[in-house]
Amino acid sequence: MGMSVALDGNARQAAVVKLDEEHSLIRRAQGGDRLAFEELVGRYDKDVLRLAMNLVRRPEDAPDIYQESFLRVYRNLHRFRFECSFYTWLYRVVTNVALDHLRRRSSRREDQAPAIDEPDGTTHDFFDRQPEQSAAANPERVVLGQELREQIAGAMKRLSPRERMVFEMKHYHGMKLRAIGDLLGTSEETAKNSLFRATKKLRETLNFMR
């Protein structure tokens, strides 16, 4: 028990040091230090690329989302005032860029179905209207042929973009549902429901594949 407390204390201290380092990097980047900015990019860009791949229907668009997101961060970093964590701010940028991208794509599609409220009164927002990907649609996204990863990748593809995002932000990045709701411009309740649906789908898919 005592050891556990000590480890917790060490972990907390390490987190504080890491946060201080990050704040120092951000301040340097705000002052125009390009190397500091690139170090910040290096800390988060893998997550950003994965998030982008989850958000857009065409994986080949993910690099565009990646680049535009970091350019927006670069241009607007002076506006970051440490009121939220940097990654929350960054993810908000990525989400906005991805939304703009999806809107542009949608507006170019002549066959895009109009937004229609369901007969039961439920309304579907932009994320809900994005078509889900079939597991076979993107063979290049299947990673390295490892069976379990393939199954998990297939299961993740069955989620809607919003379900994937909520699941990823909650379980891969440890964000709270309230923050996720804020980030996606929706309520905590909606984020919670998305998480429930995502978990249920994953459970069912992986159970079915077993």
């Binding site: 990646y66 909650k170 459970r203």
Partner: protein, 359 residues
């Protein structure tokens, strides 16, 4: 690897339906308040099914987390390289804008559009109402701001610092003139020892105009600064002359900023080099220091060498103090610069600047 992570039921869960929501949130972590968490723990203590289902849920989440799909390494590397290129392009175009932008209180204005609009209106009205009155009572301001009366010969004007234009009735050197004018050449007339040289700037407008004076004259200075700020409109030789002339005014923060901009962003290597040379003797502001550090990453090896030399000579004069950032940039050049000479020079600078400042 145990892939039986969902138990044996088709639904994958065995938990009590009324506890499902709380249990999913409990498994997700940090979503329940302390009372809800206590209730869940108490329920788990009595319900074996929910306990087992929770374990399976956690196992599923662990599997998903440990085996998440990561972006392809080659794709990530390609994204990084493209981002670097895009940032280079961004810096070329946006460096000056960001410097100016730092002076504008956008942090205050952005979230308060109504107040900002009201403030701007108020400022506009105030300037319109009180500006003319102030100018009326202080005619010297008008005189200072009014461009010189036209003349041909500097010698005929007792005030050597007044700019002169050779066009009778010439319009003032306004911002509009600068935008439309093309500086076709700069003639430098050497002065006595210690005196700034006389400058003749030939502008091609609707009719040719010559502005003449020393760099101490505000209009001449503005014109030279304008040349450097708008490098795409003027030939490199004109820009190099402008840098050379402004060198005498590096104690002026405006001139310093423009020289930093040229050292940082001018597309011509010779201009960047000349600007760095000019900054070598400048009273070091943070901007100068940062410009020299940025120049260590210039694409041209000559510029990088000049930047190292400038940093070393300024450090020798006690004008710059090294810090971790400067040392890290020098260390990076020392280890990674493709040019052998620069790696050696960086190592020498690192040796000179590092220990001296630390001990």
């Amino acid at each position: 690897m145990d892939r039986n992570i969902h138990g044996s039921h088709e639904t994958g869960t065995d938990w009590c339906v009324e506890w499902e929501t709380l249990l999913i949130l409990f498994a997700a972590g940090e979503e329940l308040d302390s009372a809800e968490e206590a209730n869940v723990i108490e329920h788990l203590a009595h319900c074996g099914n929910c306990r087992a289902a929770l374990e399976r849920e956690r196992a599923l989440l662990n599997e998903l987390t440990e085996n998440r799909v990561e972006p392809d390494v080659a794709l990530l590397a390609s994204c990084r390289a493209n981002l670097r290129d895009a940032l280079d392009r961004e810096e070329e175009g946006g460096w000056w804008r960001r410097r100016i932008g730092a002076l504008v209180p956008t942090n205050w204005m952005s979230p308060r559009p109504a107040w900002s609009a009201a403030l701007l209106l108020l400022l506009g009205f105030s300037a319109g109402i009180f500006g003319p009155r102030v100018l009326e009572h202080h005619p010297q301001i008008l005189a200072q701001n009014r461009p010189s009366s036209p003349a041909i010969n500097a010698g005929s004007n007792p005030d050597a610092d007044s700019p002169q234009a050779n066009e009778p009735g010439n319009s003032p050197l306004t911002a509009l003139d600068l935008r439309t004018a093309d500086v076709s050449g700069i003639n430098v007339i050497p002065a006595g020892t210690g005196e700034p040289p006389e400058v003749q700037l030939q502008l091609n407008q609707h009719q040719p105009v010559t502005v003449q004076g020393t760099v101490n004259n505000n209009d001449v200075k503005r014109l030279l600064m304008y040349v450097l700020d708008n490098s795409n409109r003027f030939d490199p030789d004109v820009r190099i002359n402008a840098v050379d002339l402004l060198r005498a005014k590096t104690d002026d923060p405006e001139v310093q900023s423009v020289l930093c901009h040229a050292a940082h962003s001018d597309r011509n290597t010779a201009v960047r080099l000349k600007a760095l040379e000019a900054l070598d003797g400048a009273e070091p502001q943070e901007l100068v220091r940062q410009t020299l550090l940025d120049a260590l990453n210039d694409q041209n090896p000559g510029v990088r060498i000049e930047a190292i030399n400038a940093l070393q000579s300024m450090a020798a004069r006690g004008q710059v103090v090294s810090d971790d950032h400067m040392l890290s940039v020098l260390r990076d050049r020392m280890l990674n610069d493709p040019n052998t000479y620069i790696r050696m020079q960086s190592a020498a600078a690192f040796r000179d600047l590092g220990p001296r400042q630390k001990f």
